[in-house]
């Protein structure tokens, strides 16, 4: 082969390659927004990688912006240029986005796949559809981890949530999230209020004062965290002896990093995470997103996700399919917040209630913290 024909051949090959790439671009790209970290990896491995295999040429771009999704979506909406196709948010943000008209209202039965057992999506997801815009993916919980090697505890180990407020038996620093949601409920439960009455009590001035008075008792022993990674770090360093965080973070601290830490499931506060579709997507992008969402939230895909992270699938029909961790090879069911053994005493946010009281109580909480 002479030089000339070699050059022709390579030119031809590269042209063909560019052609193929151009085709791929024609098939389009899709921008998914999530939280980054282990959670996003679990979504990639369970949803987007299998989907990309089935759809040649589709480019899936991940953006780790869920933490500021609400503000970014509003800014995009005002600018009239929506660059995101599907956004992963917590349920309270989904409600806010839906209220603001920034997320698309959907008919769950129409756009989602029925469950493997034949149940309709609305039955399969049940109560977890907390907003007309929200497509649930996982149930996670905020719960408490504690160190197992604290000498001052004289061999006692916490058995229920109220250990947080028990400085006598469990002295040492604790860490709690720097927001009222969750903390006020725990404070009331540990002050003798029945779980089902918590929001009725919190609605009254006395109830709020009661909750803050309970928090007052531990205020000087508490580190207030902002990021989910804070408590695991504080626990691992021995900076705090117990602290609240997401159950998936505790799973990786205990099972993957093998720290001397154990966790409580008592009064775990259930929360939801799921997708919303931004309002105002053009037709072609919307069609692409709907196809992906239908796939990514079917029974098998939600069950698959639990191989990579210890969050419970939002569909009831996925629960029997939960298997083993893909890398560690341990059974995942006992690590699911939704597992019957773990869910004996659980607490589900009242989202509607918090949508009303959030601004007010947050101002109070911040004022309380700052004093």
């Amino acid at each position: 082969m002479n030089l000339k024909s070699l050059m022709l051949l390579t030119t031809g090959a590269s042209l063909a390659a560019t052609g193929a790439m151009a085709d791929g671009h024609m098939a389009g790209s899709m921008t998914l927004v999530s939280w980054g970290g282990a959670y996003q990896v679990s979504q990639q491995r369970a949803y987007s990688e299998p989907y990309a295999e089935m759809h040649d040429g589709l480019e899936i771009i991940w953006d780790e912006s869920s933490a500021e999704a609400v503000a970014r979506l509003r800014a995009m909406n005002e600018a009239g240029n929506i660059t995101w196709d599907l956004v992963d948010v917590v349920a309270s943000d989904a409600i806010r986005l839906c209220d603001e008209g920034l997320a698309m209202e959907i008919d769950h039965d129409e756009i989602l796949a029925p469950g493997d057992d034949g149940s309709s999506p609305t039955d399969d997801f049940g109560d977890l559809i907390v907003s007309d815009c929200f497509i649930p993916q996982i149930v996670y919980s905020t719960t408490v981890g504690y160190r197992t090697d604290v000498d001052e505890w004289n061999g006692n180990t916490p058995s229920d949530i109220c250990a947080i407020f028990d400085l006598e038996n469990f002295p040492g620093q604790r860490s709690l999230e720097r927001r009222p949601i969750g903390n006020l409920e725990w404070a009331l439960i540990c002050d003798g209020v029945a779980m089902e009455d918590v929001y009725d009590v919190l609605e009254t001035e006395e109830g709020i004062e009661q909750a803050f008075a309970m928090l007052d008792t531990i205020q000087d022993q508490t580190v207030w965290w902002n990021a989910g990674a804070d408590t695991p770090q504080l626990l691992a360093d021995g900076e705090v002896v117990m602290g609240s965080t997401y159950n998936g973070r505790l799973f990786s601290l205990i099972e993957e990093q093998d720290q001397p830490v154990a966790m409580l499931w008592d009064a775990q506060v259930f929360d939801l995470d799921g997708w919303i579709i931004p309002e105002g997507l053009p037709e072609d992008r919307l069609a692409r997103v709907l196809d992906f969402v239908r796939f990514a939230t079917d029974t098998q895909r939600l069950a698959d996700q639990s191989q990579y992270i210890s969050y419970g699938p939002a569909r009831a029909s996925s629960a029997p399919l939960v298997g083993q961790h893909a890398d560690l090879g341990i059974d995942m069911a006992p690590h699911m917040p939704t597992d019957p053994a773990n869910a004996e005493r659980t607490f589900l946010f009242n989202y509607e209630w918090w949508a009303d009281y959030r601004d007010d109580l947050d101002a109070r909480f911040q004022a309380w913290l700052a004093q």
């Binding site: 503000a71 509003r74 205020q219 580190v223 900076e239 509607e352 959030r358 601004d359 700052a370 004093q371």
Partner: protein, 539 residues
């Protein structure tokens, strides 16, 4: 030289006055210079000034109430803020709310008003689901009276301008067709109904792209018809559907149904709460001082401006803290930075360059890494406490709290902002000739006097520049206080960030930002009066 003896203006070679031709030439030059900087000027205007102005504007902007509930706001003007408003107000609310719910604006307004009065968010969300039933009982009675009222064409013929109806009734109308126009004749006879129907027709056209001729009106339109017929007189009307209308007018006195107030109370009895109405009225103006009042711990109530309850006052405290801590950080930077800059400027070039690199090194490291490193160093089980315990200075069970409080913020931010103090100091000190100090000493000054009376005064412009840089950067800082500030070491900027990204209360965030900006400008002015801005040098 004869020109000089002439009276009148000096002339140029072409006969025009010299002054004018000179200014013309200069103007061309200035214009050319302006053209040269125009790209930069435009860039700054568009990407910097305009967004700031837009953001500041949000701190007073409040059109959302009067745009979403226009009729209610007008009707509410006559309300005396005592007892529940009249039926007219509730009827206006029904028309407004129906349109808002169809346009999906009502929840946004609910969130806005919820900033002021807790509970309005869910009230509006709930009412959006129930509002399409308001007037249903009247709709049914009209349908029973004459099935023609069920026909969308009846309504279009009654309400639409004749030429509009004709154009829209053709078979080839696609989608919404022409924008709805009211018939002139009906407006006087049925004022509320025509208003409600127009609202319906235009909403259907713009939201669903449907032709109003083919759509049955909302139940609220029947409510409006009932209200018009039970109060007004239709005998003078002789337009389309006059017979139908006359028949209805005769039957209406026997109709029974919920009044608008009862209907809203049926959805949620918070609609009978005067506090809700007082909030709507207080925030019905297109511009409001409400955000600014909230930003300084005040609130707008029907009785005027009041202080927030003590347990909710937080912003003034945070402003005070932000300023106090920024000053402390600036002072720490001066105390630590001055000797370093002095050393740098007096060492031989080679050594000082090496040290300068050490000063600059933090600039090339991520802010987050630096802040996280401080966490590792300062926490109670951290390096510094371990060291102190090992030396025996501190008991193991009484480790120092160096982080997650004000001290932590001051330490970490002093470290991060130190280069901004050292660099201007260094560049000013470089220009102070060493011979001055030598001269002072040769005239008998001690080391200290020579420094105090000769060297230090010359370095003041550097201190001034460094202080301004550090203080202004510190006052707006938010990542570091957020990470290491804990409970007592957070700044006002952390609240601004919260309102921007989490609570979506951009109006309050804008008001807080505006106050912060104003504070900086005032402090800058005070600084100018005391130190003199001419006394600031960056080198």
């Amino acid at each position: 030289m004869s020109d000089a003896t002439q009276d009148g203006p000096v002339l140029a070679a072409d006969g025009t006055p010299l002054k004018r031709s000179l200014s013309r030439a200069l103007r061309a030059q200035k214009l050319r210079a302006l053209m040269l900087i125009a790209p930069l000027l435009l860039f700054i205007l568009i990407t910097f000034i305009a967004p700031i102005v837009d953001m500041l504007f949000r701190s007073v902007e409040n059109q959302i109430v009067s745009e979403t509930l226009p009729r209610t706001v007008v009707e509410l003007e006559g309300w005396d803020a005592e007892g529940v408003p009249s039926e007219d107000v509730y009827a206006a609310l029904a028309y407004d709310f129906m349109e808002a719910a169809e346009r999906r604006n009502h929840t946004r307004l609910g969130s806005r008003l919820n900033y002021e009065t807790t509970g309005i968010s869910s009230l509006f969300r709930q009412s959006g689901r129930g509002v399409d039933d308001i007037g249903e009982d009247y709709a049914d009675q009209f349908h029973d009276l004459n099935p023609a009222w069920e026909e969308s064409e009846t309504w279009a013929a009654l309400m639409g301008a004749p030429d509009w109806v004709e154009a829209q009734s053709a078979d080839d109308v696609e989608g919404a067709g022409l924008l709805f126009r009211l018939s002139v004749a009906i407006q006087d006879v049925l004022p509320e109904t025509s208003d409600a129907y127009r609202s319906f027709a235009r909403t259907v056209q713009s939201e669903d792209n449907d032709n109003p001729v083919a759509e049955e009106p909302w139940n609220t339109v029947y409510l409006a018809l009932y209200r018009d017929l039970s109060t007004g007189e239709v005998s003078g009307y002789d337009g389309p559907m006059a017979d139908l209308l006359a028949e209805a007018a005769a039957a209406v006195p026997d109709f029974e149904g919920m009044t608008p107030r009862e209907a809203f109370a049926d959805i949620n009895d918070d609609w009978l709460d005067t506090e809700v109405w007082a909030t709507i009225e207080a925030f019905s103006d297109p511009y409001t001082a409400g955000y600014f009042l909230s930003a300084i711990d005040l609130q707008l109530t029907p009785d005027g401006v009041e202080r927030q309850p003590p347990e909710q006052r937080v912003y003034l405290l945070l402003f005070n803290r932000t300023i106090f801590m920024s000053m402390a950080i600036t002072l720490m930077c001066v105390l630590l930075g001055y000797p370093i800059a002095y050393l740098l400027s007096n060492l031989p070039a080679r050594t000082s360059n090496l040290l300068l690199i050490l000063v600059l090194l933090p600039f090339w490291t991520s802010l987050l890494v630096r802040t996280s490193a401080w966490k590792v160093l300062l926490q109670q089980q951290g390096v510094i406490n371990d060291l102190l315990v090992w030396i025996g200075l501190v008991a193991d069970d009484a480790r120092l709290a160096l982080i997650n409080n004000q001290l932590g913020t001051i330490i970490a931010m002093t470290h991060i902002l130190l280069p901004f103090m050292i660099l201007p100091l260094f560049s000013v000190m470089k220009t102070i000739p060493p011979s001055y100090v030598r001269a002072a000493k040769s005239l008998g000054a001690t080391n200290f006097t020579a420094f105090r009376r000769v060297y230090f005064p010359q370095s003041i412009p550097g201190i001034g520049a460094g202080c301004i840089l550090v203080f202004i950067l510190a006052i707006g800082y938010y990542i570091t206080p957020e990470l290491v500030g804990g409970r007592t070491g957070t700044f006002i900027s952390n609240r601004i960030a919260y309102h921007i990204s989490s609570s979506l209360n951009w109006g309050l965030a804008a008001a807080l930002g505006t106050i912060l900006l104003a504070l900086v400008l005032v402090l800058y002015w005070v600084y100018d009066r005391i130190v003199g801005i001419d006394n600031v040098k960056l080198g």
